[in-house]
């Protein structure tokens, strides 16, 4: 190497190092700023690097993290079809490490574990019943843990809390309603009416928390009466919670006329709510007494009487009108007028 070449190399190297020294703190501040804004994902853990295949590694090193994550997600179809749950879990570990702020991957990773893998374990004839239960429980907990990892990185996202809530309130799995309630409560903090109502509904299913449910329903009513009251289930549940004899004396009594337009409407909605409650386990309070009163007042035929054998599972509006063939018995006040 000639003197000139060596000289040039030294000067260039020193210049790059020098400008790098000046540039580095600026870039680090910028990086930290973007990290705070969740634009930069956390560093990939060592074990995840080791799990990546060559193609994925090449893609990541080429700056194609999210693209590799997308491709791996699509390719995970194979592991799903082959029921290779542990490989699938490992895959989603890599995918979420590459693109941790995409809730879709947390959602699906958890779904594979908590639903697909757990269901497979539960129905696996090759295992003893005890092992099936244990394995199912393991996958359920893994799914729950996976969702929670996602929540840790995406605390502003309520959907993953909803997923946990749905998981532990699913009657076809191993329901744990208090656990589900905790999750729904977290989701409800995000000021979404649907999540708030979902939390209310789960509270209404947990024995011993009916008063808490009633208080929460009242809170929702105060915050946004028209939008909550537009939901039939909410109206019916609120009415039932209000009939709880254990409510404190100062609790507001709610009349039918405050929630329903007419007696016929009240009967139809409460009839349907009763059927729903039998499925979901909502608190019903004095619902049956109210229905019996309305049956007498409206002269409800037997096939629309829930206490008679052969009653319809659900009443639809047109059928009801035809069956009763009577003018609506309107309540004086609209249920949506604020006090």
């Amino acid at each position: 190497m000639s003197f000139k070449t060596l000289r040039n190399l030294i000067v260039v190297t020193v210049a790059i190092l020098g400008t790098g020294y000046l540039r580095m703190p600026v870039e680090q501040r910028f990086t930290e700023d973007l990290r705070e804004k969740k634009a930069i994902p956390p560093p990939i853990r060592k074990e995840v690097w080791g799990q990546m295949g060559q193609t994925s590694l090449a893609g990541v090193l080429g700056g194609l993290r999210t693209l590799i994550a997308s491709s791996m997600n699509l390719a995970s179809q194979t592991q799903f079809e082959e029921k290779d749950w542990y490989e699938l879990k490992k895959r989603y570990g890599i995918i979420t490490a590459l693109d941790p702020y995409n809730e879709f991957y947390w959602d699906h990773g958890g779904w594979h574990l908590a639903y697909n893998a757990a269901s497979w374990a539960r129905s696996n004839d090759q295992l003893s019943p005890r092992k099936r239960r244990l394995l199912e429980r393991e996958f359920l907990e893994q799914g729950d843990a996976f969702y929670r990892q996602g929540i840790a990185l995406n605390p502003d996202n309520p959907r993953l809390w909803m997923n946990i809530g749905r998981l532990w309130s699913n009657p076809h799995k191993r329901p744990d309603l208090p656990r589900a309630a905790k999750a729904f409560k977290e989701a409800a903090k995000h000021d979404n009416l649907f999540y708030q109502r979902t939390y209310l509904y789960i509270l209404a299913r947990i024995p011993g928390r009916e008063i808490e449910a009633y208080d929460y329903a009242q809170k929702l009513l105060i915050e946004d009466p028209s939008r909550h009251l537009s939901r039939t289930t909410f109206r019916c549940l609120l009415f039932c919670l209000a009939t709880n004899p254990n409510l404190p004396k100062q609790a507001l009594k709610i009349r039918l006329g405050e929630l329903f337009v007419s007696k016929q409407q009240a009967y139809q909605d409460l009839y349907n709510f009763r059927a729903l409650s039998q499925e979901k386990g909502y608190y019903t309070g004095k619902l049956d007494e109210v229905l019996e009163t309305l049956i007498k007042e409206l002269r409800i035929p037997d096939h629309l009487n829930p206490f008679k054998a052969g009653a319809k599972p659900r009443i639809f509006e047109k059928d009801f009108e035809k069956a009763l063939n009577q003018p609506l018995d309107l309540f004086l006040k609209s249920p949506f007028e604020s006090n």
């Binding site: 040039n8 210049a15 540039r23 910028f30 930069i40 995409n102 879709f104």
Partner: protein
């Protein structure tokens, strides 16, 4: 007889003449033919559906759009980065080998103007290519978003959601379509390609082989993707959950000082795909950093090139 004023050290006018010639050269070399497969890919993505097993939940339409954007931006990034390195690696050696350089340098053209003009020409071609690809991206993504949004609206209505809620859902979905936020991602990739072009320029001034220049340029591209991980080892007590050793720190220092940080670019691009709000400030900062890199590498290239003999 000719009489000219004293030649200035740096002339934007001369730089633009050489840049224009470089643009003409690259365009007449039909480099834009690479856009044809890119266009085909973008159009083909319109027909892409996530596998059915993913389930019909509210996140799937978003993910469809994210996948579309990821593939498009990834393609744009790959092509422009590679094009930046290869075109610079080819252009200057070809001028030397063909002795076109002699006739240029025998005119009153400072070597800095020549280098800056060549770099600017490549950057202009990159910009044109980026604009074409961006246009294709916007058109195909708009079409896709409209179609997915219609299906999504129908899906929500079938589930019993009211009109207002359906509209809200569709509005949320539209944020993942062709918005200004996505353009920041495109800009970020353009900045990255510019930096790679400047890196290739520096390497080509002392490299004796085009292949070496391309290979070295690609290495810088790769190492730049995890330069920030090395930097974390210096500024943060631990990274990836481990305390770095002395050897790690020394290596980290060298990597952090020498190589550009492309993770900043990737992060902004990824955030744009997620439809995350990116401030104009961030893209301006990135633009500023890009200009600094371009200036550093161009000046260093000139330093090496100034003494070169032909």
């Amino acid at each position: 007889m000719s009489s000219f004023p004293k030649t200035s050290f740096f002339s934007p006018s001369r730089v633009s003449i050489i840049a224009a010639s470089t643009v003409t050269q690259l365009v007449r070399m039909k480099v834009f033919l690479f856009l044809a497969p890119v266009a085909l890919l973008f159009v083909a993505l319109n027909f892409f559906e996530l596998p059915i097993y993913q389930g019909p939940d509210t996140l799937v339409p978003e993910q469809q759009l994210r996948t579309h954007k990821n593939l498009c931006l990834g393609t744009m990034m790959f092509f422009t980065s590679l094009f930046a390195i290869v075109s610079v690696a080819l252009i200057i050696p070809s001028d030397v080998e063909d002795r076109t350089l002699y006739t240029i340098l025998c005119k009153p053209v400072p070597r800095l103007d020549y280098l800056a003009g060549k770099l600017l020409g490549v950057i202009l071609v990159l910009l044109m290519a980026m604009l074409v690809m961006d246009f294709l991206l916007v058109v195909t993504l708009h079409h896709r978003t409209t179609s997915i949004s219609t299906d999504f609206g129908r899906y929500l209505s079938d589930l019993g959601f009211q009109e207002a809620e359906v509209a809200r859902g569709q509005a949320e979905l539209a944020k993942h379509g062709p918005t200004w936020v996505l353009q920041y991602g495109v800009m970020a990739h353009f900045f990255k390609a510019c930096i790679l072009a400047a890196v290739a320029l520096l390497i080509s001034t002392f490299s004796t082989s085009t292949l070496f220049t391309i290979a070295a340029g690609v290495m810088v591209w790769i190492i730049g993707a995890f330069q920030s991980i090395a930097r974390d080892g210096l500024f943060v007590d631990s990274f990836a959950g481990e305390t770095p050793s002395l050897a790690d720190k020394i290596l980290s220092t060298i990597i952090s000082l020498i190589f550009p940080d492309f993770q900043l670019v990737e992060s902004i691009a990824d955030a744009s795909v997620r439809a995350q709000e990116i401030l104009g400030d961030d893209i301006l900062k990135l633009g500023g950093l890009t200009l600094i890199y371009l200036a550093i590498y161009t000046v260093l290239s000139w330093f090496v090139f100034a003494d070169k003999e032909f």
